[in-house]
């Protein structure tokens, strides 16, 4: 029985797979091809001239070096901060409620619009900043450059390291540490010689995730890096919006693509699969010996509390700034900024909600379909489909945005200026979370349940609709939630795709920042955080409601 014959008897499956390939080809492979074409093809011939010219430009070379430097520093600092939180959570002996608080603090930056931290950094350290000017009385302190960008990105992305390291540390059997104690090791020695080495793959993983996140980050450096510290994503953006130089943008994108792709492949296929933790079988009973000295435990908790305080301070500042006349100058209470965003800014809010609302079900469905095809069927090329579906997710948003701009600006497929291009960008960029959740969930559902349905006379379409789909509903909602949340908060790709017809809140925030109307920017940010929170609550409720009894829970709405 050949695969072809099997599929011929099941046309619904084949049609679905074909449809998905057409979409993947159109919205993933085609734009990327057009981008590379723009960078490497000149008069129908392949050339390295464009790339060499770009690397010859000292400004661009500096941007490249700066990008890598910033990414490496964010990787180091963020991993350290993530380790602090993860170690405190895994070994600090905290109660359930404190752990929940730790999680909440760590998740807040992940779900905020990308420049929330950047904006509050300006509020704190800008020319009339709360800390630099009012508190310390500094004049001429510059809020722009590597130091503030690094600080803001570390705070924004360290939760990734926390989420990576916590299960790794929690997975190290405490009895291994007990064993080291029983051999006479001191606490510090055990930590250094046993715990840390066991967590090394986790560190590498966390570092690479942060490196990639920082490399791709567009909004933070755009606001904080300033002219003295150019990085690749902002450089590519300015090349296109400032100079209308599409070719230069394409080439800079490619220069950014190389380290990004390298890091992604390294993380996914090398480090991601290395783990000492899974080796052990049944975990022993909880350690009787406290692996952390009382003073060290106090220090750990104090460290976490400090970070939590900084984050709480930044967010309070945001709310405060949105509700006063002019932060730093006139601190009288006012609703003016909210009035502004709900009148002048109303179109952006409506557009964003329409786009997020339209992308949500499409992204959820797309994630579930691809996940199902990959995990459960014998459709030829399903591994390739999984890899291709991850491309837009793995690439920095700037690259995806520029690729879409180049690909869909001219016929045959002219989408520039439409809502569709923005929706497609979000769906294909942020649905991989849903795909992975679907695959993970399906791996826990015994295939015999679907076989039972077939033996009772149901065709594959009926089986999918009546059995599989209800069981993977949680993945559908998780995927849909992530698409919505990212549609509300993302900017790096879509800033190239907005138009007079369709704009986004995040783009308006950026415009407000550059016009120095900080009040409306803060008000917009508060609104986005509030909407995202409401969405997370709704998705969590849906997950509880649709979780079939006896099946596994999908907890991480933000797993990537």
């Amino acid at each position: 029985m050949t695969a072809a014959r099997r599929i011929a008897r099941d046309p619904a499956l084949l049609l679905t797979a074909l449809g998905l390939w057409v979409l993947l080809g159109l919205f993933v492979l085609f734009p990327l091809t057009r981008l590379l074409q723009r960078a490497f093809v000149e008069d129908g011939r392949f050339t390295l001239g464009n790339v060499l010219a770009t690397l010859g430009d000292s400004n661009h070379r500096r941007a490249f070096v700066n990008s890598l430097l910033l990414a490496a520093l964010v990787g180091l600092c963020g991993t350290a901060l993530g380790l602090l939180f993860a170690y405190t959570a895994a070994r600090g002996g905290l109660g359930r409620r404190w752990l929940a608080a730790l999680d909440a603090v760590a998740l807040l930056p992940l779900i905020s619009p990308p420049f929330t931290t950047a904006i509050t950094m300006i509020f704190s350290f800008g020319p009339r900043g709360l800390i630099s000017y009012h508190l310390l009385g500094l004049k001429g302190f510059t809020a722009y450059g590597l130091h503030t960008t690094l600080f803001a990105e570390t705070l924004t992305y360290f939760p990734l390291a926390y989420l990576t390291l916590r299960p790794v540390l929690a997975g190290i059997d405490p009895s291994v540490e007990d064993m080291a104690f029983s051999l006479g090791g001191s606490r510090w020695r055990v930590f250094r010689t046993v715990t840390l080495p066991l967590a090394v793959p986790g560190f590498a993983n966390a570092f690479l995730l942060l490196f990639a996140a920082s490399l791709a980050d567009f909004a933070t450096p755009l606001i904080l890096a300033g002219n003295s510290f150019p990085v690749l994503p902002t450089q590519a953006y300015l090349q296109i919006t400032g100079l209308l130089d599409f070719k230069g943008g394409a080439v800079l994108s490619f220069v950014l693509l190389v380290p990004a792709a390298a890091v992604y492949l390294l993380q996914r296929y090398w480090v991601g699969r290395r783990s000492y933790v899974t080796v052990t079988g049944k975990a022993g009973p909880a350690s009787q010996i406290r692996s952390v000295a009382p003073w060290a435990r106090a220090a750990l908790i104090a460290g976490c509390a400090l970070v939590a305080l900084v984050i709480a301070y930044l967010y309070s500042l945001l709310v405060y700034a949105s509700a006063v006349v002019a932060f730093g100058a006139n601190h009288a209470w006012t609703w003016r900024h909210y009035h502004v965003i709900f009148t002048e800014g109303l179109k952006a809010i409506e557009d964003t909600l329409i786009i997020a609302g339209a992308g949500m079900p499409l992204g959820g469905l797309y994630g579930v379909l691809v996940g199902y095809l990959v995990a459960r069927t014998a459709v030829p090329g399903r591994q390739a489909m999984e890899m291709v579906s991850m491309i837009n997710y793995a690439l920095p948003g700037t690259i995806v945005g520029i690729a879409y701009l180049i690909a869909f600006n001219d016929p045959p497929i002219e989408l520039t200026g439409t809502a569709l291009i923005i929706i497609a960008c979000y769906v294909f960029r942020y649905s991989p979370t849903g795909i992975r959740a679907t695959v993970a969930l399906l791996q826990q559902i015994d295939p015999s349940i679907e076989e039972a349905s077939r033996s009772l006379g149901a065709r594959s379409g009926t089986t999918f609709r009546r059995v599989t789909l209800p069981l993977i509903m949680p993945a559908f909602f998780a995927g849909l939630g992530v698409v919505f949340i990212r549609s509300m908060t993302a900017i790096s790709a879509t800033i190239f795709l907005v138009s007079i017809n369709w704009t986004l809140i995040t783009v308006r925030i950026l415009e407000n920042m550059t016009e120095l109307s900080l009040g409306p920017a803060a008000a917009f940010s508060v609104l986005v955080v509030a909407i995202v929170f409401a969405m997370i609550l709704a998705v969590s409720a849906a997950l509880r409601r649709f979780r079939a009894p006896g099946t596994v829970a999908v907890t991480s709405v933000l797993g990537g």
Binding site: E451, A452, S455, L456, A458, P470, P549
Partner: protein, 364 residues
């Protein structure tokens, strides 16, 4: 509905093994399941019995051969077009549907009227002893109850054949005995042809009209439990079904009604012999432990040996007796209170001629 037969003609299934390359899971299996019969595929894990069953169901496609149900070639039909009832080892209940909806599923797929569905589900739940369970969710049920739901779900669509894949292996021992009785009762009452897969020989013997023993992808012997036990055709069947002694022997003389043999230098004879035996040929003898008579003194005939172990198990006593280089197992049911041989004592083993079966494969 008239019961239908199942016919397998030269069915093979290959798969790619990581180390061994291409290997056969099932190799040219031909089999006839008679209408209304319950046939068990019995064998150790990895023998191909489940693969064979799944090919009958349509979950896997044979690489060669044909499968016929009721005379209709179903080889190229999908599982959902074969009208079969399948009972899974792990029950495979739909976790998001109630008991009633689980059972109704197949009828809803057939788009039957709601009133008919409600009636049929009620009837079949009563049949498996689950009246009033319709509103429960699968995870609220015990293992035995889940198995009954799985059974009800399979039979409510009035399938042409019922297929069971080790349905009782997740239940505890007592429930297993009870459920196998119920499965047999239901199968006979409904008159549905059934194929049952298990690795448990006692279960197979209790439930089956006929047993096909599988090993390494082929059916090595099929017959009633009694035939397989009394006249195993190979060492594998002799050892897989029940406990047995395999004794090295030499053919001394062959006549139409009996074969004379020599074991450890002692004479033995049997009326049961395969054809074409020649004097001087090396053979193996199958002698069940419970057929051997243990006598405390040497009586001149039979085999002589020394008791090396005696295990008292209540209704029986198990002995191991060293005879030359062989260790022979002897089971004594209804043991006497006194005079039982003890370890170290010399005994005589009486082997009734009727209890001896000759296997032609010589000793390795």
């Amino acid at each position: 509905m008239q019961p239908v037969g199942i016919r397998l003609q030269g069915v093979s299934k290959r798969f790619e093994h990581r180390v061994k390359g291409e290997v056969y899971a099932v190799r040219e299996v031909s089999l006839d399941v008679r209408p209304g019969e319950l046939l068990t595929l019995l064998g150790p894990s990895g023998c191909g019995k489940t693969t064979t069953l799944r090919m009958v169901a349509g979950f896997q496609q044979p690489d060669a051969g044909r499968i016929l149900i009721g005379g209709q070639d179903v080889t190229d039909l999908m599982a959902n077009q074969r009208n079969i009832g399948f009972v899974f080892q792990n029950y495979a209940l739909f976790p998001h549907l109630s008991v009633h909806e689980n059972v109704a599923y197949g009828l809803r797929v057939q788009k039957q009227p709601e009133a008919d569905i409600a009636r049929a589900v009620g009837e079949v739940l009563a049949l498996v002893g689950l009246e009033g369970y319709g509103g429960q969710m699968p995870n609220q049920l015990s293992g035995g109850e889940q198995q009954r739901v799985a059974l009800a779900r399979a039979i409510v669509i009035r399938p042409r054949v019922l297929l069971f894949d080790e349905p009782l292996s997740n239940l505890d021992a007592r429930l297993r005995v009870q459920m196998r009785g119920e499965i047999q009762r239901l199968q006979k009452a409904l008159g549905i042809t059934a194929v049952y897969v298990t690795h448990d020989q006692e279960e197979a013997m209790a439930i089956s009209d006929r047993i096909a023993v599988m090993n390494q992808g082929v059916i090595v012997q099929d017959g009633t439990a009694e035939t397989l036990y009394r006249s195993p055709g190979s060492e594998f069947v002799a050892q897989f079904i029940g406990r047995t002694n395999l004794l090295a022997a030499r053919v001394v003389g062959v006549s139409p009604s009996r074969v004379d043999l020599e074991v450890q230098g002692r004479p033995l004879w049997t009326p049961h012999a395969p054809p074409d035996l020649k004097a001087g040929q090396a053979v193996r003898l199958v002698v069940r432990p419970e057929t051997i008579e243990l006598r405390p003194v040497f009586t001149g005939d039979g085999l002589q040996g020394t008791v090396t172990s005696r295990v008292f198990l209540g209704e029986k006593v198990e002995y191991q007796v060293q005879v030359g280089l062989d260790v022979i197992q002897v089971t004594d049911y209804n043991p006497n209170d006194t005079g039982a041989p003890q370890p170290g004592e010399t005994v005589t083993l009486g082997v009734p001629p009727d209890a001896v079966r000759v296997l032609r494969e010589g000793p390795e």
